[in-house]
Symmetry: C2
Subunit: 185 residues, 2 copies
DNA sequence: GGCTTGTTTCAATTTATTCTGAAACAACCA
DNA sequence: TGGTTGTTTCAGAATAAATTGAAACAAGCC
């Protein structure tokens, strides 16, 4: 029968593996490796931790820890807590994966989709009007306009779709997703 | 009334702006700036272009152009063409935004989600079994298991959902998306 | 005020990524 | 086969991004 230390060591090892594999995905999610690691550490341990504990566990500098934690707070996927009789700040991760995911989507729309949409509108408005041209040139301008419109319409559909998922009433996201996959093929 | 050269200059300018704004998003999408620029150039001009034309227009080196084009081919969002009487290879972008998007999702699932899922399964299997423990330790192991399971279940739902969108029969993606947003609030 | 504890900032450095340019390669032609 | 045109590769250079560590800052306490 395994003893307690054995068990604990294995647990820690599993946690570390979880953190590492999450860190690898960081790039894909548009956040830095440390951010991803800190977040996954808080998620998988389920325990509030302070800056020093995070530094020690991830072997990173104080500055890096501070900035990564700040960024996670800005993204809204971790939150501050306090322990009685301890002046340090503690941080904990949202334990609901779906709500965590919603926060990420919300933030990425704000940071990436919205600015791009704004630019696309600008470009459309500053593109030459097909009415003012004739013949082949007019065709070309019309085609250009069409491509812009299609991209715009796509982006707006995606934006609206995401907002739906993200909105307070959008907790249906989980249900919707499950339903969609349930009735597959 | 605007003359032809005026019009053409404005068109080129609009295209350049499109390419630039797309390039800015590159990081967020997990591809390099040049890849994004080359792709958006092919998309917005709608014309097949050869390596030299792309180099000139984007002001990049031959090596960079070659590698970026190759990567785009690998992602399946541009394709080769040829012109009669011209030995050069030409490249053109998929003009259907939705199918383009599907290719991207398909590729990202393959590159990011699937490996992560595999690792998560491994971690679950190598995590210590709660049965072997007692008391608080058992509680802790159970909580760990639960968090792993939730993450796994989330990722699998997402994977299935994406596969649905991506599958040949999944051309319904566009319709589904439009419907979902249509009946909003 | 001065002391202790905890947090943030940021210039300098390290690390990772992207890009260049020239050489190697490949395919065709006479 | 040698010449021409087009493409790919890759070591080194340039660029961008993340990280460190020490100093500055805050807040509480005596």
């Amino acid at each position: 029968m395994p003893n307690q230390d054995d068990q604990h060591e294995k647990l820690t090892e599993a946690q570390d593996r979880f953190v590492a594999s999450w860190g690898q995905m960081a790039g894909a999610w548009g956040i830095s490796r440390t951010m991803a690691e800190a977040h996954s550490l808080l998620y998988i341990t389920g325990k509030p931790m302070n800056t020093d504990e995070i530094m020690d566990r991830l072997q990173i500098s104080r500055g890096n820890a501070s900035m990564s934690i700040r960024a996670l707070l800005d993204w809204g996927i971790i939150s501050r807590t306090h322990k009685r009789g301890d002046r340090k700040e503690y941080f904990e991760a949202d334990q609901d994966v779906w709500s965590m995911f919603r926060s990420i989507v919300r933030e990425r729309i704000k940071r990436e989709v919205e600015p791009l949409l704004a630019t696309l509108f600008e470009i459309r408005d500053s593109s030459p009007a097909p009415d003012d041209a004739t013949g082949d040139q007019q065709k070309e301008l019309l085609a250009h306009q069409k491509r812009l419109e299609e991209m715009l319409s796509f982006m707006r559909t995606m934006e609206k779709l995401s907002h739906r998922f993200v909105s307070p009433s959008g907790s249906g996201l989980e249900l919707a997703a499950k339903l969609l996959t349930k009735f597959d093929r």
